[in-house]
Every structure is written in C-alpha cells, then in structure tokens.
C-alpha cells in the first residue's frame, strides 16, 4: 500500500512538473520544472528496483545535460510576444497531433498490455542482487553490438562538435607551461655592473 502511495506521489508530481514545463511563462522556471520531472522519474526507477538507472538518470540528465540546457537558456533572450505570433496558424496541425496521440494513448491503455495479469512480478529482490552487475553482464555480452554502435555514434557527435566550433586565431597567445617551468634564473636575470 505504501508502495502504491509512493508510486502515485512520484507519478503525479512528474505529470504536474511536465505540465509546468509547458505552461511556465519564464523559461528558467520551465527548466526547473523539467529537472523536477526527472527527479520524479528517477523515483519511479527506484520503485522498480532499478537503482542504477535511477541514479544514472540524476547523474547524467540532472547533473550534466540540464546544466548545459540551463546555461544556454540563461543566455537567450526569449520574446514571448513574438513566440505567440504564429499560435493560431499552427493550431490545426498541433491540435491534430495532440488528438492523435491522445487516441493512441487511450488505445494502448485499454488494449490489456497494462493489465495486472501481464505486469511482471511485484516482489522485490533482496539486497544481494546487484543491479549494476547484472546490467553490466547483459550490456557487455548480449547487447555488445548495440552498445558499441551507440558509443561510436556518440564519439562521432563529440568529434563533430569539436570540429564545428574549433576556430584557431592567429593572434591568440598561448601559455606553454613546460617552457615556463623549465626557465632558470640565469635565463631571465642579468647582473649589471654599476
């Protein structure tokens, strides 16, 4: 019962936070709502015994990705009047997508996939089951190919981002630390006979 209560707490707060992301006037508030949403999603992972995924969600998304998001958004100057200009123009297509998604969600919810019979076991593993180790074993054996492909895609994106933003300036002065460390007193200091 306690578990159900926590599920509705995390789930409800996640939905409220997600609404907040869309509704908030201030973009910074939107980002804060999104962070809060991630927190609740990670709470749901914890309830599924997936503590590794829950922690990683906070570590990667909240701790790193959202910081970058916020960094960019803080620099932006968002003009809300301009953003709203095309609202009516895009309403039909946006509304159509929303309705379609709603129908799909209802269809999926009523199809019986989520009924209590098909749900997996509700019993929890003991502390001796090491979630991280199990994920590692599966990831590096069964799903090795997919894992490696994902890694290569990320590497390409990383290199691409560096290449796109790399500009070398001719007039920039760089500090060569090894040269500075190598300097001895005799190189810089000259005794003058008076």
């Amino acid at each position: 019962m306690l578990e159900a209560a926590f599920f509705y707490l995390f789930g409800g707060l996640a939905v409220v936070a997600a609404l907040g992301v869309v509704m908030a006037r201030n973009t910074i508030h939107s980002v804060m709502f999104l962070i809060f949403c991630f927190f609740n999603a990670s709470g749901l992972f914890f309830m599924l015994d997936a503590e590794f995924l829950g922690i990683i969600l906070i570590l990667i998304y909240v701790g790193a990705v959202m910081v970058m998001f916020m960094f960019v958004i803080m620099m932006l100057e968002v003009n809300f009047a301009r953003l709203r200009e095309g609202f009516l123009q895009y309403l039909p297509i946006g509304g159509a997508i929303a309705v379609m998604l709603l129908i799909e969600l209802i269809a999926a919810a009523t199809s019986g996939v989520f009924s209590s019979k098909t749900a997996s076991t509700v019993e929890h593993f003991g502390r001796e089951v090491n979630n991280t180790m199990e994920i590692g074993k599966v990831l590096y054996t069964k799903y090795l190919l997919g894992f490696e492909i994902a890694a290569i895609i990320l590497l390409v994106a990383l290199v691409g981002a560096v290449v796109l933003t790399l500009r070398s300036r001719k007039d920039a002065k760089y500090q060569v630390i090894s040269k500075q460390v190598k300097v001895r007193k005799e190189d810089r200091l000259r005794k003058v006979e008076m």
Binding site: M32, E51, I56, L59, M68, M74, T132, Q175
Partner: protein, 356 residues
C-alpha cells in the same frame, strides 16, 4: 510490518539524520574557526582569540551575528529563486551524507554481526554521492541568475564551467577505484582495503588520489580554485547580492561539501576506518576515519594559505588537458595490468574479490 514498527523505524531514521546533520553543521562552524587560526598561524599572526577561551566561542558569535542581520532582496531579483538558491546549494551537500559509512559497530557486542554506521548502506553508494553532490551547482547557477546582477552572473557561469569540467576527471578517478574494489558500495570499498597500509588504494592509484583530491577542491570552489568568488575581479561572485543568514547558508554548503570530499577521499584511497598497521586497531575505526578526514581538511586550509588563485584559462587547462588524460590513461593501465599474466598476480593484492 505493523504501523508501530514503521513508526519506530521512521523515528530511528529521523534521529540518525538529525545527529549527522547537526554534527556536520557544528563541524562547519569549528572548521571555519580552525581555518582562521591555522591561516593566522601560517601568516605569523594570531587569528581570532577574543571570544571565549582561545576564541573558541567565535563561531557561535559569528553565527549569531549573521542570524540577526537583515536579509536584503534586490528589487530586480527573481524573488522565489533568489530565496530558494542558497537552500538548493546547501541541501545536496547534506543529503549526500546519508550514505557515508562512518565505521562499523556491533553496538558494544549487542549485535552478532558488525553493522555499517551509515543512514543508508546502498549498493550504488558512490554513484549516489556523485549524483547528489553534482546538484549543488543548481543553487549556484540560480543564485547568479536570480540576483540579476552582472557580477553574480559571471560568478555563476565560472562556477558552472568549473564544476562540470572537474566532475569528469573526478568520475574517472572513481572508476579506477571501482575497477580494483569491484563494488560501488562504500562500505564494500573500505572492506576491500582491509589489511593495513599497503592495501590502501593510495598505493596503486597514487596519481588518481591526487586527481580526486585536487578536483574535489575545485568542486567545492576552494582556494586556489575559488574563481567563482574571485573578489579581485567579480567582487564576491555568485553570492554578491546575499546578506545575513542566506549568505551563511552558502558557506555552510561549501564547508559541508569540503567535509564530504575529505571523507570520500579517506574512504576511497586512505582505507576508510582501517588503521594503517594492525597494532593500532585498538583505536576505534570511526576515530581513524574522522582523523584522516580532518587531516585532509587541514590540507585544504593549507592550500588556501599557500597557493595564489588560478587564472581561468589555467584552471580549464588543468582540468581538461592534464587531469582528464591522466585519469583515462590510468584506467587503461589498470585494465591492462588486470589481464597481463604476471602483473595480474601483483595487482591481485589489491583485489580481494578476484579470488587471489
């Protein structure tokens, strides 16, 4: 489990949380005192010595003064986030203490097996500490943004870049520890270092120890990495607009993070609650752990009295061009050692889980 049991368990947890939070807050007050005395001593002056015997009541007087001061909220500030930011900066440092194991106890022989002295002894303890301590950045970022002041904003930007950069090398330094210990449970990592000084991870991972500790100094914005405050350039950085108790909240968080980093370094590299030689086992483990942590805190203070502040580009260079390659190389070195026939047996000395 009946409701009474639940209530008793909740009461015990609340008590544990209260004890740890209160002692951390009190330690922060006295670390500030120690810092002032030690820096005074290093700079051949007296430091605070007026309030109470040898100035021991100075932290209380300072706290009272800050508490009674008016909190000014700038008119152009974003009120809600301005008030929330110090709490957001402080809370993570305290929450992370939930998994720190302070030792092992049988409660004077009451329990048959030794229990780990932590509020929550979770399997992913080290990841939890990394995840939670990375959240304090939002407090700093929000403080800089909500103040609506250019100095605060510049300080927040500096703090963000610095923390994101150093978190990476810190994470990789932890990976090398995990490779040897084979567990992410903090108590498990300490157990893996049992058996005296030679088993401590500072021996095979000495460069990583340096990287972790120095990155830790950068993570909690300690001197010589205190660019976010940088009073010579940006007045006081991200908390320039804060006064009174809200200002004190920031330093509370900063010093709590410093204690946390010291404890984590002791647990990961200095054998946690184990004594360096077996003969010294009579001294309780908690004393050892706190003693190691206190020594590291002293080193932090020593840093502050010794080194001039880094320049911003030097800071970035150190993080990305020195520490990151070091840590990546050391992961490769440890990994190769673990699978090379002869060296394998040597490195098995530090890997109790490997069956050697």
């Amino acid at each position: 489990m009946s409701w009474v049991d639940v209530a008793i368990q909740a009461g015990i947890w609340a008590l544990e949380i209260l004890v740890i939070a209160a002692s951390v807050a009190l330690s922060v007050a006295y670390i500030i005192y120690v810092e002032r005395r030690v820096i005074g001593w290093m700079q051949v002056r007296k430091g605070c010595n007026r309030v109470g015997w040898a100035g021991l009541l100075q932290p209380i007087a300072d706290g009272l003064k800050l508490f009674l001061k008016e909190t000014i909220i700038p008119t152009t500030a974003n009120k809600f986030l301005f008030v929330a930011a110090p709490v957001m900066a402080m809370a993570p440092a305290f929450i992370a203490f939930a998994v720190v194991p302070f030792g092992e106890t049988t409660l004077f022989g009451l329990w048959e097996t030794a229990h780990v002295m932590a509020i929550a002894n979770i399997n992913v303890g080290i990841l939890y500490v990394m995840a939670i301590s990375s959240l304090s950045i939002y407090g700093i970022l929000m403080a800089g943004w909500a103040s609506n002041s250019k100095y605060a904003f510049l300080g927040a930007i500096r703090a963000t870049c610095q923390m994101v950069s150093y978190e990476i090398s810190m994470g990789f330094a932890i990976v090398t520890v995990l490779m040897l210990s084979g567990t992410m449970n903090l108590a498990g990592i300490v157990h893996a270092q049992a058996g005296g000084l030679l088993h401590w991870y500072i021996i095979p991972l000495f460069p990583m120890f340096l990287v972790f500790f120095i990155s830790g100094a950068a993570e909690c914005n300690r001197s010589p990495f205190d660019l976010p405050e940088g009073e010579s350039e940006i007045v006081a950085g991200f908390f320039v607009e804060y006064s009174g108790m809200w200002f004190a909240t920031f330093s509370l968080g900063e010093y709590a993070a410093m204690i946390l980093i010291s404890l984590m370094t002791s647990i990961l590299f200095l054998g946690g609650w184990h004594a360096p030689i077996a003969a010294l086992d009579v001294i309780p483990g908690t004393v050892w752990l706190l003693g190691k942590a206190f020594f590291l805190i002293f080193v932090f203070i020593w840093f502050r009295a010794t080194f001039p502040r880094y320049r911003y580009d030097q800071l970035m260079r150190l993080g990305w061009k020195v520490f990151l390659p070091w840590t990546l190389a050391w992961i490769a070195v440890i990994g190769i050692c673990m699978y090379t026939p002869v060296i394998q047996d040597v490195i098995a000395f530090w890997r109790p889980g490997s069956g050697a």
